[in-house]
C-alpha cells in the first residue's frame, strides 16, 4: 500500500499503457513539456517522446476528429480536452462520427477522451461545467466517471483497451486528493459495474465522480448519527449498472442521487426514472435529486458555492427521511 494523488496514479496508468501497447498515444493541448493544465501527463514526454505525447494547437474539433480517424485506422489515441467546457467544440465529431462508427459502419473506434469537469475552483462559468449530460445516452458512447485513484486507474485501462469511444471524466477537485492504493496498478475493471462503497439499510446515495467521493464522506458522518446509508458509486454512466441500483433501491426504499451539474435535464433524472420504473412499489419515498442549481457557475466564491450541490443537503435529506 502507498498513498498517491489521483493525478499521480493516472499518470502511472497512462505510462503503463503507453509501454504496453505501441498503438496507444496521447494527444492534447499543452500535454508535453507543460504536462497538461492539471499536470496529469507531466514527465511523460521524456519517456515516450513528442510523437506519442503529442501537443496540439488549440483546435478541439480537429484534434478529436484526427483521433477518431487514427483510431479507425488502427491506433488507440487517448486525447485530453483541457477543461470539459471545451468539449462543446467537439460535440459534432463525437456524436456524429465517433458514436456512429460501430453501430452504423460496423467499424471499431478505440478512442479515449480524458477531460476534467467540475467547479469549486472559482474558474468561472466556462471552466467549471459538468457536461456529461451532453453525452450520456448518446448511443455509441461510453462514459466513465471514477471517484478515486484506484478506480480511475482500473477504468482508464479498460477505456484504453475498449474498442469504442469512451469519455473519461477526471473531476478537477479529485486531482490533488490522496488515496491509499496498492503498489501495483489495479487490474482493469469491467464497465457497467457500480461499486457499493458502503452497504447500508436505511437509504441509498447514488453518485459518480467527485460527488461519489462526497457521498462517502456524508455516509460516514450519517453513520455517526446512527443513519445507515448505502453508497453506490456508479463508476460508469454508460453502461449503467441498473441491477445494482434497483437492488439497492428495493432494499432501502429511499434513494437520493447526487449530481454536480444543474438539476434540470441532468443524468440523475435518468437514474431516478429507471429506479422508479423498476422499483416503484418498493419506494418509501420518491427518489430525490440533490444537484447543482439551474444557473451557470459564477466565479465569485460565495455565488459558486450557492450553485454547487450542498453537502449539508445530503445530511438534511437523510435526517428528514429517518426522523
Amino acid at each position: 500500500m502507498r498513498s498517491v494523488t489521483f493525478t499521480q496514479l493516472l499518470r502511472e496508468t497512462l505510462a503503463a499503457e503507453l509501454r504496453r501497447d505501441p498503438s496507444v498515444f496521447l494527444m492534447g493541448e499543452d500535454i508535453g513539456v507543460y504536462g497538461g493544465s492539471f499536470g496529469v501527463t507531466r514527465g511523460l514526454i521524456e519517456e515516450f517522446g513528442a510523437e506519442r505525447v503529442r501537443d496540439t494547437p488549440i483546435s478541439e474539433q480537429a484534434l478529436t476528429g484526427v483521433a477518431i480517424g487514427a483510431a479507425v485506422a488502427g491506433q488507440r489515441p487517448v486525447i485530453e480536452i483541457m477543461f470539459m467546457d471545451f468539449i462543446t467544440l467537439a460535440v459534432d465529431q463525437l456524436v456524429n462520427m465517433a458514436a456512429k462508427l460501430h453501430p452504423i459502419y460496423g467499424r471499431t473506434c478505440p478512442l479515449v477522451i480524458r477531460t476534467p469537469p467540475g467547479g469549486g475552483r472559482g474558474y468561472g462559468a466556462t471552466h467549471s461545467q459538468s457536461l456529461e449530460r451532453l453525452f450520456a445516452g448518446i448511443p455509441g458512447l461510453k462514459i466513465a466517471a471514477p471517484s478515486n485513484a484506484s478506480d480511475a486507474s482500473a477504468l482508464l485501462q479498460t477505456a484504453i483497451r475498449d474498442n469504442n469511444p469512451v469519455l473519461f471524466l477526471e473531476h478537477k477537485l479529485l486531482y490533488p486528493q490522496r488515496f491509499d492504493v496498492d503498489d501495483e496498478l489495479p487490474a482493469p475493471l469491467p464497465f457497467g459495474f457500480a461499486r457499493v462503497a458502503r452497504e447500508g439499510d436505511d437509504l441509498t446515495i447514488v453518485a459518480w465522480s467527485h460527488q461519489a467521493f462526497v457521498a462517502e464522506r456524508a455516509a460516514a458522518q450519517l453513520a455517526a448519527e446512527g443513519i445507515d446509508a448505502e453508497v453506490i458509486d456508479l463508476r460508469t454512466l454508460c453502461p449503467l449498472d441498473t441491477d445494482t441500483l434497483i437492488e439497492s433501491a428495493r432494499h432501502t426504499g429511499r434513494v437520493m442521487i447526487l449530481e454536480e451539474g444543474p438539476k434540470t435535464g441532468g443524468f440523475a433524472a435518468e437514474i431516478a426514472a429507471q429506479i422508479m420504473e423498476q422499483a416503484h412499489e418498493y419506494l418509501e419515498q420518491p427518489v430525490r435529486r440533490i444537484a447543482g442549481a439551474d444557473f451557470p457557475i459564477p466565479s465569485a466564491k460565495n455565488l459558486e458555492a450557492a450553485c454547487l450541490p450542498a453537502y449539508d443537503s445530503i445530511l438534511a435529506l437523510a435526517r428528514e427521511w429517518m426522523s
Binding site: 498515444f25 474539433q61 477518431i68 480517424g69 485506422a73 456524429n96 453501430p103 459502419y105
Partner: protein
C-alpha cells in the same frame, strides 16, 4: 467514369420511381475528379469522401452491387443498410467514407494520415471535400495540423461551383480555393477537374511528394455539378443556359473524344465498354433488389464493438 455516370443516373431514376428512399447526392459531371485521383493512387493508399461520394467509392474499387444494396437498405450493403448513401466504408480498399456532416471527414482523413505516419506505412490519404466544406472551421484546423506535422494527406477540393444553392462567389471570400494553401505554408494547385489527365497527373505528382515526407497539399479541381444538389432540387439558383454550357464540358465526352483522337478508343470499343458498364449497374440493381432486408433484431448486438 462511364460506370459511375450510369450508376448515378440509375439512382436518380430509382428515386423518381420510389424504389430507393431517403436521400442521395449524385456526382454527375464530376467523374473525372474521382477517376483521375484514383488512377494516381497506389493500393496501400486511403481515401475519404463526402455526401457526394459514390463516384469516389466506385473509382476506388467498391463493388457497385454492395453500394447499390446499401442505397436500397439491404443486409448485403456496405453498412448492412444502416448507413445509406452517405455512410459507407471499406477499409479493405482503403476507403474511409463520409458521415453526412459537411466537412466532417476532413479531420478523419488527417487522422488516417497520422496513423500512416506513426506506423511508417508509406500510405497517402486523399481527402475529398467540396467548395462549401472548405468554409467549415474544421477545414482550417485540420490543414494546420496536417501541415504542422507534415502528414501524408492530400486535400482535394472539388470546386463544383455550388454548395447546394450557394455559388462559390457567394460562399467564399476568395474563390481561388487553392490560395488557401498559403495560410498553412503548403503547396496549393488548381487544375481543370473535368480533365481526367490533368487531375491524375496533379494528384500523382503531389502524392509522390507527400509520400516522400513533404507533407500535405491542397489541390483544387475545378468542375461543375451537372445534377441537382439532391433529389428534388429545382435549381432555381442557376440558369438552364449555364447548365447547357456546362454539359458541353462533360468530362466523359472529353475523355472519349481524346481517346478516340489518339486512337486508343474506337466507336466499337467505346460501345463495348459502355455496355459492360450498363450491365454492371443493372446487375447491381438486381443484386440489391433481391437482397434480404436487414433484421431489426440484429441492432441489439451492434451498438458496441
Amino acid at each position: 467514369m462511364c460506370m459511375i455516370r450510369l450508376f448515378e443516373e440509375a439512382i436518380e431514376r430509382l428515386f423518381l420511381e420510389g424504389r430507393v428512399m431517403g436521400t442521395a447526392h449524385t456526382c454527375i459531371g464530376q467523374e473525372a475528379v474521382a477517376v483521375g485521383t484514383a488512377a494516381a493512387l497506389e493500393a496501400c493508399d486511403a481515401m475519404t469522401t463526402t455526401h457526394r461520394g459514390h463516384g469516389h467509392f466506385l473509382a476506388r474499387g467498391a463493388d457497385p452491387a454492395r453500394a447499390m444494396a446499401e442505397l436500397f437498405g439491404r443486409e448485403t450493403g456496405y453498412s448492412r443498410g444502416r448507413g445509406g448513401s452517405q455512410m459507407m466504408m471499406d477499409p479493405d480498399i482503403g476507403f474511409y467514407g463520409a458521415n453526412g456532416i459537411t466537412g466532417g471527414s476532413i479531420p478523419f482523413a488527417t487522422g488516417v494520415a497520422l496513423d500512416a505516419k506513426l506506423r511508417g506505412t508509406g500510405r497517402v490519404t486523399v481527402c475529398f471535400f467540396g467548395d462549401g466544406a472548405s468554409n467549415q472551421g474544421v477545414f482550417h484546423e485540420s490543414l494546420n495540423l496536417a501541415a504542422l506535422w507534415k502528414l501524408p494527406v492530400l486535400f482535394v477540393v472539388e470546386n463544383n461551383g455550388y454548395a447546394m444553392s450557394t455559388s462559390t462567389v457567394r460562399g467564399l471570400s476568395n474563390t481561388h480555393i487553392a490560395e488557401r494553401a498559403g495560410a498553412y505554408g503548403i503547396p496549393g494547385a488548381s487544375v481543370d477537374g473535368n480533365d481526367f489527365f490533368a487531375v491524375r497527373d496533379c494528384v500523382a505528382q503531389h502524392a509522390a511528394a507527400s509520400r516522400a515526407g513533404q507533407g500535405p497539399a491542397l489541390l483544387e479541381c475545378v468542375t461543375y455539378r451537372l445534377s441537382g444538389h439532391s433529389r428534388g432540387d429545382a435549381r432555381v439558383y442557376r440558369s438552364r443556359e449555364e447548365e447547357s454550357a456546362a454539359w458541353e464540358n462533360d468530362p466523359i465526352l472529353r475523355l472519349e473524344a481524346y481517346l478516340k483522337a489518339d486512337g486508343t478508343l474506337t466507336d466499337d470499343s467505346a460501345k463495348t465498354l459502355r455496355d459492360a458498364a450498363h450491365a454492371r449497374v443493372d446487375e447491381a440493381i438486381r443484386f440489391a433488389e433481391s437482397s434480404p432486408l436487414p433484421d431489426p433484431a440484429s441492432l441489439q448486438e451492434d451498438l458496441f464493438a
